[in-house]
Every structure is written in structure tokens, then in C-alpha cells.
Amino acid sequence: MTQFALSTPTTGGSRFPSKPLPPRAGAGLKTGHIDAILSDDYRIGFLEVHAENYMGDGGPAHRALSAIRAEFPLSVHGVGLSIGSETGIDPDHLDRLARVVERYEPGMVSEHLAWSSHDAGYFNDLLPLPYNQATLDRVAGHIGQVQDSLKRPILLENPSTYVAFEQSTMSETDFIRDIARKSGCGLLLDINNVFVSATNHGWKPLQYLRDFPLELVEEIHLAGHAEDTDDEGDLLLIDAHDRPVADPVWKLYEIVISQAGPLPTLIEWDNDVPEWPVLRHEAMLAEAILDRMGPASMLGSRHAAE
């Protein structure tokens, strides 16, 4: 009788080496870059993927990510959990996220302070929330539910926003600090989002960073933004992820790293994606700042922002 082995994943014990995110620069993983990343002499610090792209059963995406995960630390970044949803967390989607996390054992799992799903459907954008007690209770509850399901803390990312709400009663930084306190989650500080939102709402980015609980930040995001105008003809920045990181965002990044110490730092480039060397160049710029602000500044790092 002929017998044939099927390609079933090995079970029992870890499939991958344990790799927490190092305080280095990483890049958002794009399908077209995978071969270049694997064969590059420059070993990128880590890679980050959108969880939703790996929620299928199998196929080339999983094969490529397994090859990446075998060699690099990985961060899983959800874009579709809709943590701010007023109709609750979709249990099926949470199960799918749990399966991705179980399958790839990432060093970090993160999601957004936003909503994207409602009964009517999935809007494929990170939509804004009013900052008040009702939203705070809801979001903190949902994060608790996610962390219970994943059996690990997650990081929550500050949003880029274009509108405000009459219903808001708190500042974004107070809102985020209270959510972290209540849910026990860590924070992902997207410095491009800080610059975009500060410009769009007339805040001072440095004041925002002074108010932000830097001691809870475990990962940084950097990306490029586009310029538009608002109803009054004033500058309105769009979180486009389609170009290099802007100079003022690099400056804010230096300030954050000098205060918080080296942190895993991701370059996001999701639209008009360039060849790998262009993205790698951005990562190397971040890494140069991490090196420059390196071990010496570590001594004074991780102190409370107050």
C-alpha cells in the first residue's frame, strides 16, 4: 500500500525562533519586495504586515510570510478589527486575528484607535471617534476583549484625523492615556499621524508629544503624507503613505527617540510603493537616528512623561 505524506504544519512547540522586535528600523512588508529582502545583505530590523492580508487559509502569501518570519522579527498590525465600533468586535474577525497571531508568533500585535465596520458594511478606512467617556469605555472594553482572546497585550495606535466632533470632551492624548490605563494596552506612536492631525486641527505637535504617555510607547510608525487644502483654503495634510517621510516628521522623531530611547521604528509605504532599495533607504535613515540617540540616551529613557 502506497502512502504519502501531506504538507501539514508541524505542531507542538514553536514553529519559529522567538524574535521580539528589536529597537531598530523595520519596514512594512510588500509582496513585491520579499525576494529582495531575503537576499539583501542589509538585514532589516523587522517587518510588519497587515493581519488581514494573511487571513486566507493558504497560498503564496502564507508561504512568503513563513519564509520572512523564519529569518526576521515580525509585527502583526491589524487594520480591520474596528476597535471603536459601536456594534462590538466581530468575533469571527477576532478569531481570524488570533489564528494569524498563533500561526506567526509575532513579536508585536497592534491595532488602531478608529472604527471601520458597521452593520452596513466594512468601509476600508480608519474612521475617527469622538473623545468622551462613552467612547472611552467602549474602546477600552474592546481592547480588553482582544487581549483576552490573543492572550497578550496589544499596542494601540494614535490616528490621523481630518474632522473633529462636537461630542468630544477630552483631548486625544488624555483619551489615549486613559484607554491604556484602563485596558493595560501599550501604545504605538505614529509620529506622521501626530504631525498630520496637529496640522489639521491647529495643535502644536511638540505639545502633543509632551502630553503623550511616551513611557507606554513600544513602537514608532513613520510615513509620508500628502498636502491638500481644507474648506477655508488652509493646509490640510493627508496620511497618504505614498512618499518619503517629511523633514518635520524626522525632527519630531529625533526628539521622541532622544526622550524615550531607541524603539522599534517602522517605515510605512503602502501606496505608489517604490523598489525595495528606496524603502530600505528610509529605514536606514531611521536607523541612523536610533544609533545616534543610542545607548547613551538609553540611561535616561523610559521615564514617565510627567
Binding site: M1, T2, Q3, F4, A5, L6, S7, T8, E52, N53, G56, D57, G58, G59, P60, A61, H62, R63, V79, G80, L81, S82, S85, E86, T87, D90, H93, R96, W115, S116, S117, H118, A120, G121, Y122, F123, N124, D125, L127, P128, P130, N132, A134, T135, Y162, V163, A164, F165, E166, Q167, N200, G202, D228, T229, D230, D231, E232, D234, L236, I238
Partner: protein, 268 residues
């Protein structure tokens, strides 16, 4: 105050409806900072949602987009999205009803094969994301004794799919994806395609008439003998040997079963 919070906070449906319909007013409570207006600001979200979903459809249906032209496709996709926004965050599953939409969408009525090309592209992507399984090795079939062969049933590979078209949808799809000219294709020739993912890459092959019926039967769980007999009845010229070698090459099946025995399972 508390009451008005409650009222507005539970209104993502109003926000969502306004995202998809630019004729609706801004959701209540949406403002710009320091008394500024928010129309253009809210339009950023409207644009993000619509453009990202149009891009998603263009990624899923590139052959359709090429057949109708990129600008036409984007305008058509906008209409489709407004009527059938995605239900889930898994955008690689979006557009299941797009082929039916095309069948009803009058401006593309001159391209009657378009819904079938779309159906094929949708199943192509489903096959891409299907579970990983090794295809049935030829040795598995060779190991079955001749008297048992006709009782053999085959277990379909998760990626295996058949697309039947009254038009030359497979040829049109292949030419469009490869950016080849379509002028040599006789569009009114019915075609049946078998989509498989034998190892890592999705592939499609044209099935001759008899083989199409034979594969349909096998995918529905009929035994080799039943499928071959039924096919011979309708297609006396049916090439069984050719169909069996296509069966093995295509990777459409993973294991074979003889009554209660499963052959091809993982080694115990």
C-alpha cells in the same frame, strides 16, 4: 449633554451612509477645528473609502478592467461599491456579486462574456487563498489494482474550481491577463476552465467538452467508473486516458478513496 452624546455616539450608521453617498449631508456633530467648516475634510474620508475599494476591485478583476478600459472600470466600480459595499475586512473576498452586477449593467451589454471573465477572476483569487494541500501523486493511482480502479473516488483539492461559460471566457481571460490581443479569439465558442493550484501558482486549463463533464462528476464525488461511463454516454469520443493525465497534472485532487479506505493520507 449626556443624552446628546448617546444620540450621536450610536450613529456610525449615519456616518457610514454619508461616506458612501456624497449627496447626504455631513453627519451630525462633525466639525472642523475652531469653527471651521468640515465639508472638504469629511470628503477626505469619502474619497479614501471609495478609492480604496475601487483599487481593491481593480486588483481582483484586472482582466475585466483591461477589457473595458481603466477609466470606465473605475466609474463602473464606483456604482457597484455604492450598491454592494464589502461586508468584511477581508478585501480579498470582496466582489463575489460583481459578476452578477456586470450581467445586469447595461453599458457593458455588448460584452456578453464579461460576467464569466469576472467569475473566473473571482474564483482565481479564491483559489489563490485556498488551503495548502499536496496534489495527488501519480503513483497513488498507479498503485490501485485494475479491478478496483473504477470504484476510486477522488478528494478535490481546496483550490480546484470549474468555470463553465457559454463564451470563450477562459481564452479571453488568459489573453487579457497576458495583455495579448483578443482578435483571434472566437468569443462565442463555449469554454470550460479548470482552475487549480498544484503547488504554489494558480493555473487554468481549458477542458475539452467530455473532460469538463468528467471533472464535474469527479468533483461532485462520483467514482472514476461512474464518471467515465456517464461521460462516454454523451461524448463517445471522450479521451479517458488524456483526462486522467490532466487529472494528475492539474493537481485538482489530493487523495483517493476506495470504499472506506483513504489512500494518500499522511503516514501514520
Amino acid at each position: 449633554m449626556q443624552q446628546s452624546n448617546q444620540m450621536h455616539d450610536t450613529d456610525h450608521s449615519e456616518f457610514g451612509a454619508a461616506l458612501l453617498d456624497p449627496d447626504l449631508p455631513l453627519p451630525e456633530g462633525i466639525v472642523g477645528p475652531r469653527g471651521k467648516a468640515a465639508t472638504k475634510r469629511f470628503a477626505v474620508y469619502r474619497n479614501n473609502v471609495t478609492v480604496s475599494l475601487i483599487n481593491a476591485l481593480a486588483d481582483i478583476f484586472p482582466a475585466v478592467a483591461r477589457l473595458v478600459g481603466a477609466d470606465f472600470f473605475r466609474n463602473m466600480a464606483r456604482i457597484y461599491i455604492a450598491g454592494d459595499p464589502p461586508r468584511s475586512a477581508l478585501l480579498f473576498q470582496y466582489g463575489q456579486r460583481f459578476p452578477d452586477f456586470l450581467a445586469r449593467f447595461e453599458p457593458v451589454g455588448k460584452l456578453p462574456y464579461l460576467p464569466d471573465v469576472a467569475r473566473l477572476e473571482r474564483r482565481w483569487l479564491d483559489a489563490t487563498h485556498a488551503a495548502d494541500m499536496d496534489p495527488l501523486p501519480s503513483a497513488a493511482l498507479a498503485a490501485v489494482s485494475p479491478q478496483d480502479l473504477e470504484r476510486v473516488r477522488l478528494v478535490p483539492h481546496p483550490a480546484a474550481r470549474i468555470v463553465e461559460s457559454r463564451y470563450a471566457a477562459v481564452s479571453i481571460f488568459s489573453a487579457s491577463r497576458a495583455e495579448r490581443p483578443l482578435d483571434t479569439i472566437r468569443a462565442m465558442n463555449p469554454e470550460t476552465g479548470l482552475i487549480t493550484r498544484p503547488h504554489h501558482e494558480v493555473q487554468i486549463r481549458l477542458l475539452p467538452e467530455g473532460a469538463a463533464s468528467f471533472f464535474q462528476d469527479l468533483l461532485q464525488g462520483r467514482s472514476l467508473g461512474e464518471a467515465a461511463n456517464r461521460t462516454h454516454e454523451h461524448y463517445p469520443e471522450f479521451d479517458l486516458a488524456g483526462a486522467i493525465s490532466a487529472l494528475l497534472e492539474s493537481g485538482a485532487f489530493t487523495t483517493l478513496r476506495l470504499d472506506e479506505t483513504t489512500i494518500g493520507e499522511a503516514r501514520r
